[in-house]
């Protein structure tokens, strides 16, 4: 199952925020979208889900498994969301429901799309929590998000998105809100799960140093346009566009602040390795 985006444009009134972009995520491929905030990368993923704000006008084509998604009724799109397309959102503090138990919300996608017994749901919940490496998964079932750490919540958000075995996974800055140390563990868990499922991945981030860990191909977005695209190692080793260069420099600057002390500055052009 592949995702083909052609001539996608998203506008709020006269303001065009995604400007005639096109790309493809072939079956089983892992593609990164990188850009600064406001570059239109998050809106692009929301458009795939049909969840752009109602005031946004979406035109062009998004084909999933040959089916056109743009303009499809919300009811039909809801049948796809969570079942064949899973999504992990950015902020684990707010992305989970504050008033429902983990056991309930982690199985939401299953309950929305399949008719499973209570016992089966419970078993699937425990298995999913175990797969994201939460210790004593059973103990999480009755707990609420506010009782958990950021890293635990994000693992739950991942389990929740992947529980129905989606063929395409959209990840919108899934580790950005986490501490660097926590980030590495969560990313590793995420990677293993995606590999296990053999699903395609569209990974959105502003942090180019994460790309080599999660994607083979990547697009660089700026002000609603794709300014550069290609294999990840090529983008990092031989960036062509000034925007890509800027993103690499930004990643290096963060690495320098977060990471090793002075004098251990990473050689330029290899920003990817710094954080790993």
């Amino acid at each position: 199952m592949s995702l083909e985006v052609n001539d996608l444009t998203i506008a709020f009134g006269d303001q065009v925020v995604v400007d005639h972009i096109g790309f493809e995520v072939p079956d089983g491929a892992r593609v990164g979208i990188i850009g600064q905030s406001g570059s239109g990368k998050s809106l692009t993923t929301l458009a795939v889900l049909g969840l752009t704000p109602r005031s946004a006008r979406v035109t062009g084509s998004i084909r999933w498994n040959g089916r056109e998604l743009v303009g499809l009724a919300d009811k039909v799109l809801a049948g796809i969301r969570g079942r064949t397309i899973g999504t992990v959102f950015q902020d684990p503090m707010t992305a989970l429901d504050p008033v429902r138990t983990i056991g309930k919300q982690v199985t939401d996608a299953l309950r929305n799309h399949y008719d499973l017994s209570k016992a089966e749901l419970r078993e699937r919940a425990i298995r999913a929590l175990d797969q994201v490496k939460l210790e004593d998964p059973e103990s999480f079932l009755g707990r609420y998000p506010h009782q958990l750490s950021g890293g635990q919540r994000q693992r739950i958000a991942i389990a929740q998105a992947l529980i129905a075995g989606p063929r395409l996974i959209l990840a919108d800055e899934p580790t950005t809100a986490l501490d660097v140390t926590v980030q590495a563990g969560v990313l590793q868990v995420f990677n293993e799960l995606v590999t296990g499922l053999g699903s395609s991945l569209l990974f959105v981030t502003h942090d180019i140093s994460l790309l080599p860990l999660v994607a083979e191909q990547a697009l660089v977005m700026e002000a609603g346009r794709i300014v550069e695209r290609g294999p990840v190692h090529q983008l990092i080793d031989r960036p062509q566009d000034p925007v890509t260069v800027g993103l690499i420099e930004a990643a290096l600057a963060t690495a320098w602040v977060d990471g090793p002390g002075e004098g251990e500055r990473a050689p330029s052009g290899t920003g990817a390795e710094v954080r790993v």
């Binding site: 889900l49 809801a78 999504t87 707010t94 992305a95 008033v99 939401d108 998105a161």
Partner: protein, 320 residues
């Protein structure tokens, strides 16, 4: 949770005691004199003193307050200064009208406020949604008396265009004729319900509009709910405690509204009784009645606080 309930009940009792002191003090400041009402305008000062002595009105204020409070502790609300009837009996009898009226008003306000609030949030960006919100704004601003008058003119028997429902009085036979008794409460309850419901509508609407932008509602849609399902099933429960507390606040104004419509629709309930008693300066009766009404509002507050803890895990402590 048990500990919380106990603490909250203690607070409720404290609230009642403070209210009793406040009500007592306020009524002593009120100009006018029960003895004067009983004795008539021509009563001599000696006659007035006699009356005061007979009813204990000549005692010091702390003594009067003390004996009232002592009576309350035994469930004795005292006797009317004017009629001599035990206040408890009369309140119990009036409650047979006022409680169903208040309950029906609350029911109407919820039936109007919650579904229309949801609808106006779901369709907020359409013309219909904007219209609904403007109507709600207008209704929330109109006085209950006026709403009652309009309903009488539109639907009331004997006065209205459609002559559908009784608009004055309550059957003498009371609840022994449930159909007639109930029918006579519909218009007054609707008058209160429309105005209070409009306030609830606006709160439900704004709580849901806020939920629309919440990340977890978007997550729910990304997991396979339609946008509308996500908003209503996931956004509304989060707004539950806020909506509940608004309903509790509205309960106070609802009871005021009930007092008003009883007068307007000539219903012999607590409200009409209170208005008469204040005119007669029947101090003990007024203070006991007001205390019962305030107690009712405090009780609703207590129940809402406990309910909102039950539905919102964030308010509970670990282990609850």
């Amino acid at each position: 949770m048990t500990q919380y309930v106990l603490r909250r009940v203690a607070l409720f009792v404290l609230g009642l005691v403070l209210t009793s002191a406040l009500v007592f003090a306020l009524l002593r400041v009120l100009p006018g004199d029960a003895a004067q009402v009983m004795g008539g305008v021509k009563a001599t000062p000696e006659r007035l003193d006699q009356i005061r002595a007979a009813y204990g009105l000549d005692r010091s204020l702390p003594a009067q307050y003390g004996s009232w409070l002592a009576g309350l502790l035994h469930g004795d609300l005292g006797q009317s200064l004017i009629t001599g009837v035990p206040i408890k009996d009369e309140i119990t009898q009036k409650f047979a009208l006022t409680l169903p009226l208040a309950g029906l008003s609350l029911l109407f306000s919820l039936l109007i406020g919650v579904p229309l609030g949801i609808a106006s949030a779901v369709y907020y960006d359409t013309k219909l949604g904007g219209f609904a919100s403007a109507v709600a704004q207008g209704l929330a601003a109109i006085p209950i008396v006026w709403a009652g008058l309009l309903l009488i003119i539109l639907l009331g028997k004997g006065a209205g265009l459609l002559e559908l429902l009784p608009s004055q009085g309550f059957p003498r036979t009371g609840w022994s004729e449930p159909g007639r008794a109930f029918a006579s409460l519909i218009l007054p309850a609707l008058a209160v319900g429309i105005v209070e419901g409009a306030v609830i509508l606006r709160f439900v609407r704004s709580a849901l509009l806020e939920a629309r932008g919440q990340d977890h509602v978007r997550t729910a849609a990304a997991l396979g709910l339609t946008r509308r399902q996500a908003l209503i099933r996931r956004g509304l429960p989060g707004a539950g405690p806020a909506i509940l507390s608004v309903v509790a606040l509205q309960a106070a104004s609802l009871i005021v509204g009930v007092v008003v419509v009883e007068a307007l629709f000539a219903l012999p309930g607590m409200g009409s009784m209170l208005v008469t008693d204040v005119g007669n300066r029947d101090l003990i009766k007024v203070q006991s009645t007001v205390l019962v009404l305030v107690g009712l509002v405090l009780l609703i507050g207590l129940l809402v606080d406990i309910a909102s803890r039950l539905i919102d895990p964030r308010q509970r402590r670990a282990g609850e």
